[in-house]
């Protein structure tokens, strides 16, 4: 069995939480947006491009989670064979994962609902596109906060740099 330091193992849990929960939120959100978009496209073929845009919006949360997870894996020594992390940095890594994981979960779900609703509004009234995008982009902020805090935790928690 490969010898892994406790800090590195904790960072691995952090990476799992980061992409796991952010991906869950993103997937649920994207599923909702896509379900609405499919309904819209079934009635109006011209909705395809706009449906794709709204369905893609909740993808960002998974991207943030994925980035944070990769950074954790690289800087904890699991990828690239670097030095292992001390235990306290490993605990910080769980915080990093929780930060983007839970923020991404809430943000993705919220964005999915807003996007699905916007698709319904646009297919009913074309002029709703710009306003739909604005409303759907609003829940992105929570994921950005989570992402920023995750980066700050990594920088000042001794994982990055």
């Amino acid at each position: 069995m490969v010898e892994i330091a406790l800090g590195t193992a904790l960072a691995a849990i952090g990476a799992g939480v980061a992409i796991g929960f952010a991906g869950l939120g993103s997937g649920l959100g994207q599923g909702m947006a896509a379900a609405g978009s499919v309904g819209a496209v079934a009635e109006d073929n011209d909705m395809f491009a706009r449906g794709i845009i709204f369905s893609a919006l909740p993808e960002t949360q998974a991207i943030y989670g994925f980035l944070v997870a990769i950074l954790l894996l690289v800087f904890s020594g699991l990828l690239g064979g670097g030095q292992g992390l001390p235990t306290e940095a490993g605990i910080v890594a769980i915080g990093v994962g929780a930060s983007i994981g839970f923020a991404g979960l809430g943000s993705g779900m919220g964005q999915g609902m807003a996007a699905a609703s916007s698709v319904g509004a646009i297919v009913e009234d074309n002029d709703m596109f710009a306003r739909g995008i604005i409303f759907s982009a609003l829940p992105e902020t929570q994921a950005i906060y989570g992402f920023l805090i995750a980066i700050l935790l990594m920088v000042f928690g001794g994982i990055l740099g």
């Binding site: 904790l10 929960f21 939120g25 309904g39 079934a42 779900m109 009234d125």
Partner: protein
């Protein structure tokens, strides 16, 4: 710091591996709780997302006020038809059928469409509504036989929709009303029709048969909405219940206008109303005249709409004003229900109600345009 953590872990008697396992279990438990809590609202709205988008797409294609005005301002029925032929929703049906029949087909198709896409939890009432085409076809058959139309003329009256259309079309050459009723003995309408058959045979009027069908439909519609366990079902129950109440009210008002008493009206009323329960309906049926029926509704949600129509009734003496007031009330109420659950049943009810109004309005316009010099301003007043 690392040493302090290692000491802390070992002081509670854990090895590093055990501590890791605890961390993983804690994360899994927290994750499971979060997933359960967050997935509940998702599961509630998920079945409605696709249907909502589909009905909203169709809702967006309904006529707006400007288009309705343009149709009203046409010069004759041919221009109305030509206008509608330019609208994709009506073009196909108008290619195959004359205007009135095309509108009936479009209405039946709308109910069929909603019944197909409605999520499982709320499907039953919409399936019942989609069977209205069968009931209308049976009524047309009965009317045709009563007035002695030929088989071809009878077939012209039937709407080519509904699950019984094939069977009903083959009944177009039935000898008489009794033959039609007995031929329908393998359908869900058999019992209702057979119960009303003796009354028909006594009076030779098909009214008891038609009323039996209406009563059967409304009863089935009301019973199809089971105990309202969530907000979507509560909204659906209000929508369906209001339709039942309005149908009962229209019947009572019309009967009172004709001077009928309780015994004559009671057989045609669905006793299990929504807001107008059995005792209230009994009170209304026992009222001496229309004015007392309206005043007897005080305290119910229908009171304001009907009281507002009272001066016009006093002026014209026509109960049609109450029927229009009830239609407008139903439409407004449905609109308010539609905005309550935008990621649920709301858009479905909104679309169905507005499409129903659109078809009713088109029928009003078509009827008016068949009459020479019917003023456009009068048509606008008649619209819902």
């Amino acid at each position: 710091m690392a040493d302090e953590i290692a000491t802390l872990i070992s002081s509670v008697g854990l090895t590093q591996e055990t501590f890791l396992v605890f961390c993983i279990i804690a994360i899994l438990v927290v994750g499971a709780v979060v997933v359960i809590i967050t997935s509940r609202p998702i599961l509630d709205i998920y079945p409605y997302l696709n249907p909502s988008a589909r009905v909203r797409a169709r809702k967006g294609r309904l006529f707006d006020e400007k288009q309705i005005s343009e149709i009203v301002e046409t010069n004759n029925i041919e221009e109305v038809e030509n206008y509608l032929k330019g609208i994709p929703e009506y073009a196909d049906v108008l290619d195959e059928y004359p205007l009135d029949k095309a509108l009936d087909v479009e209405r039946a198709n709308t109910y069929g469409f909603v019944a197909r896409l409605a999520p499982k939890d709320i499907k039953d009432p919409f399936v019942v509504m989609s069977k209205k085409a069968d009931i209308d076809n049976i009524k047309s058959l009965l009317t045709a036989k009563e007035v002695g139309l030929t088989a071809d003329e009878t077939k012209e009256l039937l709407i080519p929709c509904g699950s019984l259309y094939g069977d009903l079309e083959s009944l177009a050459d039935a000898e008489n009303v009794t033959d039609i009723v007995t031929s329908l003995d393998n359908t869900e309408y058999a019992q209702a029709l057979e119960d009303a058959l003796p009354q028909y045979e006594d009076t030779k009027m098909i009214l008891p048969l038609e009323s039996a069908l209406d009563k059967y439909y409304l009863g089935k519609l009301l019973r199809s909405t089971d105990v309202p366990s969530d907000e979507n079902k509560q909204i659906l129950y209000s929508y369906v219940g209001t339709q039942v109440d309005v149908a009962n009210l229209k019947l009572i008002i019309r009967a009172k206008e004709d001077g009928l008493d309780y015994d004559a009206i009671a057989p045609y009323i669905l006793e299990e109303g929504y807001q107008l329960r059995e005792w209230k309906l009994k009170d209304l049926m026992e009222s001496p005249d229309v004015t007392n029926v309206i005043s007897g509704l005080e305290g119910t949600k229908y009171a304001n709409a009907l009281t507002d129509a009272m001066p016009v009734y006093n002026e014209t003496g026509s109960v049609a004003v109450f029927e229009k007031a009830l239609d407008v009330y139903t439409s407004e109420y449905s609109k308010s229900l539609a905005s309550k659950k935008p990621l649920g049943i709301g858009p479905i009810i909104g679309y169905l109600s507005q499409k129903e109004n659109e078809i009713k309005n088109l029928k009003i316009i078509a009827r008016a345009k068949r009459e020479a010099d019917f003023p456009n301003s009068k048509i606008m007043e008649m619209l819902i």
